[in-house]
Amino acid sequence: MRVGVITFPGSLDDRDAQRAVKLGGGEPVALWHGDHDLKNVDAIVLPGGFSYGDYLRAGAIAAHSPIMSEVITAANAGMPVLGICNGFQILVESHLLPGGLVRNDHGDFVCRDQKLRVENVDTAWSNGFKEDEEIIIPLKNGEGGYIADQETLDRLEGEGQVVFRYLEVNPNGSANDIAGISNARGNVVGLMPHPEHATEPGFGPDTRAAMRSGTDGLTFFTSAISSLMANA
């Protein structure tokens, strides 16, 4: 399965996302923000970073990149799309996901291994998890506070579109401890924490078993890749 990873000016984690795709059993395909070409990929990852230096608002200018018109068309046709951190910000700015992301309530950049609960295992990017599974993946952001109006929050909660929720600590003041959400169809998922940084033993969060051995993030990629292969 070909999984495209889009590089925007200022993307940082595009290579990590490509590597995570590979570790998850897929073929990573580098995509460029300035092209109108998805190169026949089967799924798309919008990686973390600081596209356009977070100018205007995080993700705002990238949301209007040439390639985003193709991404929006593909997402609306059901292609799995995952937005990580800045990628999540780009998804809300392009209205593929509802709500918005604002500066952390405490005003500081936060970087930590974050515990999450997986609350919806029916999305393209979470179907390999168990219901209510608790996972730990790194989080690193300055503008990760998820907000939406009450009606949108009620809809997200009611329809099961809250996919990941912060446990123990709400690191950025997100409404309802929301770490990640999906669209109604479940093919588009965005979250602030970074699954691609927890995919390879030796480079992930610490676990009880061993230092840096956490690979909970790998399931995001195997979820999408294995369900694409099952449907191929």
Partner: protein
């Protein structure tokens, strides 16, 4: 050259950590008569010719589509630079 001004503010219910930090500094400067500060953005769009209704409509459109994210911000002004902008300078 004429400019069209667009002003954007964070929505009232959204926490504005920048404004809060400035308000904290004012307290430390013994200026606590200013009890709250909120920080917004001002865009100045330069146009080649005179400011027409069409240009203003276009500016309103980009204000809502790009310059502001109406989920978290409000567009509070789109128009010509107001006289007060010049008269009340330092």
């Amino acid at each position: 050259m004429p400019i069209i001004v667009v002003e954007v503010m964070p929505k009232a219910e959204i926490l504005d950590p920048q404004g809060k930090a400035v308000a904290g500094a004012l307290v430390r400067l013994d200026k606590s008569e200013f009890s709250a500060v909120r920080i917004g953005k001002r865009f100045e769009l330069t146009v080649e010719g005179p400011i027409t209704d069409e240009l203003l409509a276009e500016a309103r459109e980009i204000a809502n589509d790009l310059l502001a994210n109406t989920v978290i911000e409000d567009v509070i002004y789109v128009g010509e630079a107001r006289p007060a902008d010049d008269a009340q300078g330092a």
